[in-house]
């Protein structure tokens, strides 16, 4: 593991539970790594494959997506559709030579600040272990 490696992590979260989780974390002053950058969208179901792949092409070392728990999506089933899409994206990035675990999908509810923070730290540690996004080194992307 490279000690000096600070991964770039994009955290996509829906405007409701995901964002709420981050806000509970803040209300209770729970700390997490600064290199996790939030990107809020209305519902995780609005995240297209293209947008997420763009994150990897732009050099993100990892992507987390957090939406509402099953049955809680504020727009019926956006979270399920996104979870399905993530499965596809995993195989796409694998074929690009990335580890499929560079993208995580985890449900976080509004009050679950602790879970939110745990997710970020766990993921950050994991990405640190597997190292930087190899696409950054390649010229064909």
């Amino acid at each position: 593991m490279n000690k000096n490696f600070t991964p770039k992590i994009i955290y996509f979260m829906c405007n409701w539970c995901g964002t709420g989780g981050a806000e509970s974390a803040s209300a209770h002053h729970l700390y997490y790594p600064e290199n996790v950058l939030p990107y809020r969208v209305n519902c995780t179901g609005s995240l297209s494959t293209v947008l997420i792949l763009r994150a990897f092409i732009d050099g993100a070392d990892g992507v987390i997506i957090s939406g509402c728990h099953p049955g809680d999506c504020h727009y019926e089933d956006g979270n399920f559709r996104e979870r399905k899409r993530v499965a596809t994206i995993k195989s796409i990035i694998e074929s690009l030579g990335l580890e499929e675990d560079r993208i995580w999908f985890r449900y976080v509810a509004h009050g679950e600040g602790k879970r939110f923070v745990d997710t970020t730290t766990e993921f950050n540690d994991y990405i640190k272990k597997i190292g930087p996004n190899p696409l950054k080194e390649r010229s064909d992307t």
């Binding site: 803040s26 700390y31 997490y32 600064e34 950058l37 179901g45 297209s48 494959t49 679950e112 602790k114």
Partner: protein, 977 residues
């Protein structure tokens, strides 16, 4: 005499909040008396009213909306003192003491906590409420507070005042709604279960609360020693508690099943047993949870009595009675699902305003009404009138609007007109970044000046400035002025939580004359200041976030709010009890109603009603017939319908003639029918009849010596996996009548799902009705032996009988429902009723509040009564009045902005190829393919801005107005630059 227009609400149960919301929306000012010292002080116990763990407080809590609208005046630490006058003109005196931390001005900067010198464990004497996630509530622990006044000094907005004085106020109102909260059972009340005696015996609501921050995980059930138990009991306490100690609400059996399922999820190896008397999950989809629990491997023990006592520090001894035998079991963890106590303020309320109590100590409600007490003009909702689950409480809130309107004068509240916005298309793009210092409190956490200077250097930024705030009325005004003065036409606000303050941020931008689409808000506090420590990295992260927001706003396009007309006309399909109620309530308030009925007669399932119910219905029918505003078509049906919320147009078919109609809302009151059994010799032997047939034959004379009733005929099986809700009470009532004539009555049952105010079950037990349970799949048999009729119980015992009465359930009219479902594009549930998740767990619906208010939730097509799910008489009336209330809110308005107005999805015509993928994916039926142009179009009234269509469109033709692909890509690029 001129009527008053305002309404006073005392108490903050869910029904009360919902009523407040509905009244405001209708245009009446509301005075809300909160007995606690912060918004959810007392109502917070609601968590145990929910069947599921997720709190949803953020959702059904409309306070912020009230504030934004400015129509609710709320008072804290309030106490009702005196009521005089009569309906339409009450004078009310009450006591109140303002909050120590006024949570409307409080910016949640945490400065007070920082300066407080008194450390108590891991917190200070002033601290943030640990349980409420959606809004930070600051509490003072008076025992440890020394009143040193440091917090007061440091508070930047003067929200905090340690000394507040009590005052007495007097107001004039037209109506009063009592919405007092229930009392949770005490340690004493739960002594049979040894609650409070061992850390292994806990209330379900505590678990739900403790797992708020983490979700329900193994640690949520950890014992003090650190051990994770593997052996669980879940006990529904009101089933076994002494009569009158606590009452069972609608949700408890489901809560138990849900907890069982979740325990199995987190600890698959564990042993979970649910103890209850009967599985009384009679709500929509509740029976499915029972199946789910069994499938998950949870044991469900239906027992007659149970007691729990601690065995040692980490084990609990359970003693229970089943089938006349005593059993014992040792578990490591016991979860108590407790009920609600009758309100202890009932007596005071009787003295102050004359309302009467019922036999159980809840507030009495007039028959056939949802919230009218014995005093005209005084209403009661929620758990003040009986044990309640969330759905009913919320329905009552809206129903009370329907019932109270007759006492209210002219509307007295109009939301302020939105400021006029300037057209920035003619201007050169200028982006301004406004960094909030939260009244100076961010300064020592981060070098804001440094940040500002770096931001100024970003090429696209033409102005950067540090602002005080934009969440209190003066600071909103100030910031709006600053934006105007700076001359920018695109705004980035680096502020805090949009979940709570979105409306305020948007207001700031609009007051500066800019379309809110031209702005972007980022959370400096939640994403940086509160969650990181390293100042250099914080600065870096803030800068990245600001750059991303700038990149997005650079591509923003202004767009007007869409408005449409709302047809002030309602269509009610079906003229049974619910349909008639709904039609008459809407018409009474001056709107046109078209009521269509496919049969010759009005009245629907009339033959199933008892005498008083029939009388009520007959009156209702003549009322509807006489009402000028209602046009009734008998033997008519819906022919076609297009359009959407507020703008439906179509035709009905009556006597072979097509009659075109335009309506704003559609009420589905198609009813349901009685299940006709094929088994148990029904139809073959005259002595086998249904409960309804029995009811119609009852005339005080003895019908037979030996009568056996069989419950759950045609309910809770594979074909109809739901509880029909009405049959148990009907059977009990009939059994009581038979008993009076001297017959012997035996009831063979699976679960006695008796509920409601009258305890027929207890009465039947007392009068000697015999109850024998059979297993879910071991129904008794009915046989003819020569001429005698015999019932063979599941244990083989034979009973000679004179009469067999089958409790047949309710069955949806599937074919009819499906037709309508296709015509209207409105979904059905798996059981053949009309679907409506929001009605199952209605706390879910208003969560769309910031974007979409709940009366829109089903796009103005509302299933009521039996069309929605099995319901008893009064419950059908309740759903009908709830829906009438929602419709009344909307029908009154002429031009409405589309609920999501600014932020809807649109289509780039040139890119769309009309593939229709987005149409399929839209859960709100907001999209269609335009027949002429052959491309997708969006109905602004229906779009909920979920963005699903954006992510599926292969051609990038679909976009949200604030989520266009060039914006999202630039944002992402900027974040990762």
């Amino acid at each position: 005499m001129a009527k008053e227009s305002s309404v006073l609400i005392y108490g903050t149960n869910l029904g009360g909040y919902r009523a407040a919301y509905a009244l405001c929306k209708k245009g009446h000012k509301v005075i809300l008396l909160n007995r606690g010292s912060y918004v959810d002080d007392i109502r917070n116990q609601t968590l145990s009213q929910l069947p599921l763990d997720f709190c949803w407080m953020c959702g059904h809590f409309p306070q912020r909306l009230f504030k934004a609208l400015g129509c609710v005046q709320d008072f804290y630490n309030a106490e009702l003192l005196e009521v005089s006058g009569q309906a339409g003109d009450f004078t009310v005196k009450f006591k109140t003491k303002p909050q120590v931390v006024n949570n409307f001005i409080c910016t949640e900067c945490d400065e007070c906590i920082e300066v407080c010198p008194e450390v108590v464990g891991d917190r200070k004497a002033i601290y943030v409420h640990p349980e409420i996630g959606w809004e930070n509530i600051y509490l003072i622990d008076w025992e440890n507070c020394t009143k040193c006044g440091k917090c007061e000094e440091v508070c930047p907005t003067d929200a905090l005042k340690l000394e507040r004085s009590e005052e007495v106020q007097e107001v004039k109102v037209a109506a009063i709604i009592l919405a007092l909260e229930y009392n949770d059972p005490t340690i004493e009340d739960l002594k049979n279960f040894s609650f409070g005696k061992s850390p292994s015996i806990v209330k379900n609501s505590e678990i739900a609360r403790n797992s708020l921050l983490t979700n329900f995980v193994k640690d949520s059930v950890k014992l003090p020693s650190g051990k994770i138990p593997q052996n669980f009991a879940v006990v529904v306490t009101p089933h076994f508690n002494n009569h009158g100690t606590e009452y069972e609400s609608y949700n408890l059996s489901v809560s138990a099943a849900y907890r069982g399922v979740r325990l199995k999820e987190i600890l698959p190896e564990s042993d979970v047993t649910i103890f209850l008397k009967d599985y009384r999950g009679f709500g929509k989809r509740h029976y499915r949870w029972y199946k789910k629990a069994l499938d998950a491997g949870v044991h469900i023990e239906k027992v007659d009595d149970i007691k729990a006592s601690p065995k040692n520090k980490e084990e609990v001894n359970l003693q229970y009675e089943k089938d006349g035998k005593s059993h014992e079991k040792t578990v490591e963890y016991t979860i108590l699902i407790n009920g609600q106590k009758s309100p202890n303020l009932m007596k005071d309320m009787s003295e102050i305003c004359g309302v009467k109590a019922d036999e159980n100590g809840f507030c009495n409600i007039k028959p056939f009404s949802c919230s009218e007490t014995d005093v005209d003009g005084i209403f009661a909702v929620g758990e003040f009138t009986g044990p309640k689950g969330n759905p009913e409480a919320i329905w009552e809130g809206c129903a009370t609007l329907t019932e109270s309107l007759k006492y209210l004068g002219e509307t007295n509240f109009k939301p302020p007109a939105p400021p006029s916005l300037r057209n920035v298309d003619v201007e050169e793009k200028k982006i301004g970044v406004f960094i909030c210092s939260c009244f100076g409190t961010f300064n020592d956490k981060m070098d804001l000046n440094d940040l500002k200077e770096t931001v100024e250097a970003i090429p696209d930024v033409s102005h950067a400035e540090i602002i005080k705030g934009c969440c209190t009325p003066p600071s909103i005004k100030e910031t709006a002025e600053l934006i105007k003065k700076s001359g920018v036409n695109r705004v980035v606000l680096a502020v805090c939580t949009p979940i709570q303050k979105l409306l305020k941020f948007r207001k700031t931008v609009m007051m500066a004359g800019l379309n809110p689409l031209l702005s972007e808000f980022l959370r400096l506090r939640e994403d940086v200041i509160n969650v990181h420590k390293d100042k250099v990295k914080m600065l870096e992260k803030s800068l990245t976030l600001i750059k991303a927001a700038v990149a997005k706003t650079k591509k923003s396009v202004q767009n007007p709010t869409l408005k449409e007309s709302f047809t002030p006309h309602a269509l009610v399909i079906g003229a049974g009890l619910s349909g008639l109620t709904c039609a008459s309530e809407i018409a009474d308030n001056g709107f046109q109603v078209t009521l269509i009925e496919k049969n010759e007669n009005l009245g629907g399932n009339e033959k199933y009603f008892d005498k008083q119910q029939k009388e009520y219905l007959d009156k209702l029918i003549s009322k509807v017939k006489d009402n000028q505003n209602i046009k009734v078509y008998q033997k008519a049906e819906l022919k076609r319908m297009s359009g959407y919320a507020g703008n439906f147009y179509g035709a009905i078919l009556s006597e072979k003639k097509e009659i075109p109609i335009d309506v704003g809302v559609i009420v589905l009151a198609t009813g349901a029918k009685e299940h006709k059994p094929k088994e148990f010799l029904y139809g073959e032997d005259q002595r086998v009849i249904t409960q309804t047939e029995l009811q119609n034959n009852l005339n005080g004379k003895k019908i037979g010596n030996q009568v056996v009733m069989i419950q759950c005929v045609g309910s809770k099986n594979d074909e109809h996996p739901y509880c029909s809700r009405v049959c148990c009470n009907q059977a009990l009532k009939n059994a009581l009548s038979l008993k009076e004539t001297g017959s012997e009555v035996t009831i063979l049952y699976r679960d006695m799902t008796n509920y409601g105010k009258e305890n027929y079950y207890q009465k039947a037990l007392d009068s000697g009705v015999k109850f024998i349970r059979f297993e879910d799949n071991k129904y008794p048999e009915v046989k003819k032996n020569a001429d005698a009729l015999e019932v063979i119980k599941s244990d083989g015992e034979k009973i000679k009988v004179d009469l067999v009465v089958l409790s047949t359930g309710i069955e949806p009219d599937e074919e009819n429902n499906r037709n309508l479902s296709n015509l209207l594009g409105y979904p059905m549930d798996k059981d053949g009723f009309f679907d409506s998740d929001v009605n199952v767990y209605p706390y879910e619906e208003s969560i769309k509040r910031l974007f979409k208010p709940y009366e829109w939730a089903t796009n103005c097509i509302y299933p009521v009564g039996l069309a929605h799910s099995p319901r008893a008489f009064e419950e059908s009336i309740l759903t009908a009045r709830d829906i009438a209330g929602r419709a009344l809110i909307l029908l009154g308005k002429k031009m409405l902005p589309a609920p999501n107005a600014m932020y809807i999805a649109e289509v780039k015509d040139a890119l769309c190829m009309g593939c229709g993928i987005c149409v399929d994916v839209c859960a709100y039926s907001a999209r269609a393919i335009d027949i002429e142009k052959k491309i997708a179009v969006v109905h602004p009234f229906l779009c909920d801005s979920c963005g699903s269509c954006v992510s599926v469109c292969p051609n990038d033709a679909s976009y949200l107005r604030d989520f266009m692909s060039n914006q999202t890509i630039s944002t992402l690029d900027a974040l990762l630059a």
